[in-house]
């Protein structure tokens, strides 16, 4: 496989079209109120990649406990196939995990992406997100792959403060 095929693995191209978890977001205030009535905490984060205009708004729903489960993940966005596929795979990968588990996985993902190809992605830990291994050889695209994950991090912090 060429570097370019490594970068654009079939699973990435498929997710960039399938867009799991992508919906038309309802107004945030409504979602927060609705969640609150069910004892859930809802927050979202909007991230922009200024170099190319990729955009992701990711909305997180957490349970009420300490180290709560990520019960729901939805998003909307526009951008390159890497950023959009990353958001799609993120929702499949992190939904249902506890916030501690999700953060550990995210740290592993980030470390792999920033390794300039030195760290082989661990499929046991990352699942489908391991497909982004090829991105780490393209420093200019790491930001694209990280965009929804950064949004997830910020949204969880926000939800936990509720």
């Amino acid at each position: 496989m060429s570097d370019l095929q490594q970068l654009y693995q079939t699973i990435i191209l498929e997710h960039s079209k399938a867009r799991h978890g992508a919906i038309q977001l309802t107004p945030l205030a409504d979602a927060v109120a609705l969640g609150s009535a069910r004892g859930l905490r809802v927050a979202e984060s909007h991230q922009i990649n200024t170099t190319c205009g990729d955009e992701v708004t990711l909305r997180v729903t957490l349970g009420g406990d300490i180290d709560a489960a990520v019960t729901e993940l939805v998003w909307t966005g526009d951008g390159c196939s890497i950023s959009q596929a990353s958001a799609s795979i993120l929702t499949d990968t992190l939904r249902g995990l506890s916030t501690t588990e999700a953060r550990a996985l995210l740290d592993n993902f980030r470390e792999m992406l920033r390794s300039r190809g030195k760290i082989e992605p661990d499929e046991e830990i990352l699942g489908d997100a391991a497909a982004f291994g090829g991105v780490s050889r393209y420093p200019a695209r790491v930001k694209c792959a990280m965009l929804p994950w950064v949004a997830f991090e910020a949204a969880v912090i926000e939800a936990e403060s509720h």
């Binding site: 370019l4 205009g53 390159c80």
Partner: protein, 446 residues
């Protein structure tokens, strides 16, 4: 060769500067390429195909040598000190101004050095802002703005010729209005006649679009502004490097351009202003080298251009830019323009043959700069750029600092190939052939 007749962009005098030289051919261009070391390298296993000169151009050896020669033999602060090096540096610095001024048909004292075109526009905006506060006395009053005044731009502007005016409007209470563009990216001149009116104090527009490659009718827009006594600012970043431009013939009040887009180094640009206008303008940046007498509470300022050149100047960059201008002059701007017009038409003709590719801007046969921006339907521009880079082809992807124009044309980003005098027809053909492979690679059905 495709003929081009930009009535407003070509001055007869400069157009005829090399009557003895035949039009450029691929053979000439191969010779020109030998002057540009950076072009002779391999990128991702392929020979570099550099099609991003609209963003920044490459430097010929003579430009780099001029900069090196300055540092090896003449480096000194200009306009101060009486030692030999200081005199030589000052002379070279001012000779560079003369060279660049002559290149655009300006008087030498009508060229103000800036860091780039963005700073040149900000210099204007802040000078006008200061005039609005009463600085500069009665002579500056004509530049002052307030509530009820209008600044007019176009919908195709680069952010550099938009945001400084937005901010000036916010600071002064003036209103910012814009002339819309048609679906093909050309200016709606009928609307222009409605937008520009008795309240218009300033009309700022680009000579040639960095996205659509369209050339604006300068004469018509200047005539419209004159009807209401409005000042005219021309963004000439995409034209001074590529076409013969005579600012006196164009009769604009101000113009800006950037050195790094015309074979020069980064960190140098120029503001052109009619002498009588610059003379009345208050300074933007203040400090050393721009004053006559100073006491603890007041200062008096030098005449232009020094009034607008506070602090130690970009000396080596100005000298290197003059070397770039010499390179362009010797090649002949009429020949450069004709060659790039040919490349531009070749791009447009080839793009029309690729299914699922939408050209932004006017189509085949319509005058344009030697560039083309496209939307590969279903594939994001960043992915298109990555695919091309893998083949050694350097293009620009994104909104090219023109978000409002992209929004107007219904896209968030595009892929732009922009040529210069060192690009061959083979390079254009390679770009077209590679672009045709993009949609199949990303599995986009046609």
């Amino acid at each position: 060769m495709t003929s081009r007749a930009p009535s407003s962009a070509l001055s007869p005098a400069r157009g005829a500067q090399h009557p003895e030289l035949a039009p450029l051919t691929n053979v000439d261009v191969e010779r020109i390429r030998n002057d540009f070391p950076v072009l002779h390298q391999t990128v991702n296993g392929h020979p570099l195909t550099y099609l991003d000169s609209g963003a920044t151009s490459q430097n010929p050896i003579s430009v780099m040598e001029a900069e090196q020669e300055y540092y090896e033999q003449r480096n000194a602060a200009v306009h101060r000190g009486a030692h030999t090096l200081a005199v030589e540096a000052t002379e070279a610095f001012e000779a560079a101004r003369e060279t660049v001024a002559a290149f655009v048909g300006a008087q030498t004292d009508e060229i103000v050095w800036t860091s780039n075109a963005t700073e040149a526009i900000n210099l204007l905006a802040y000078s006008f802002s200061n005039a609005s506060l009463g600085l500069g006395g009665p002579a500056a009053r004509r530049f002052g703005l307030g509530a009820g005044d209008e600044i007019v731009v176009t919908e195709m502007e680069h952010h550099a010729n938009l945001i400084p005016w937005q901010q000036l409007a916010l600071r002064t209470g003036a209103t910012l209005r814009f002339i819309p563009v048609f679906d093909d990216g050309t200016l709606d001149l009928l609307s222009a006649a409605d937008v520009v009116g008795p309240h218009t104090r300033l009309l700022a527009f680009t000579h040639g679009s960095n996205v659509t490659g369209t050339l604006n009718p300068v004469a018509e827009l200047v005539a419209l502004a004159r009807k209401y006594g409005a000042l005219v600012v021309l963004d000439a970043c995409q034209t001074v490097p590529h076409l013969p431009v005579d600012l006196k013939t164009l009769d604009v009040d101000f113009a800006v351009f950037s050195g790094h887009k015309m074979l020069g180094p980064t960190g140098i640009g120029a503001l052109y202003g009619k002498a009588e206008l610059l003379a009345g303008m208050p300074p933007f940046q203040t400090g050393g080298s721009m004053i006559t007498t100073v006491d603890m509470t007041t200062a008096e300022f030098l005449a232009p251009p020094q009034r607008f050149e506070a602090g130690t100047q970009r000396i080596s960059q100005a000298i290197a830019l003059a070397a770039a201008v010499e390179y362009l002059r010797e090649t002949g701007m009429d020949r450069v323009a004709a060659w790039e017009a040919q490349l531009g038409q070749r791009l447009v003709a080839g793009l029309a043959e690729i299914p699922g590719v939408r050209l932004l801007g006017p189509g085949l046969g319509v005058e344009r700069l030697g560039l083309a921006a496209v939307d590969v339907v279903g594939v994001h521009a960043h992915d298109v750029g990555q695919f091309l880079d893998d083949a050694g082809i350097a293009v620009r992807v994104g909104h090219h600092c023109a978000q409002p124009l992209h929004r107007r044309l219904g896209v968030t980003a595009s892929t732009r190939a922009s040529t210069y005098l060192y690009n061959t027809t083979d390079e254009v053909d390679l770009f077209l052939a590679t672009l045709a492979e993009v949609a199949p690679f990303f599995g986009v059905s046609r």
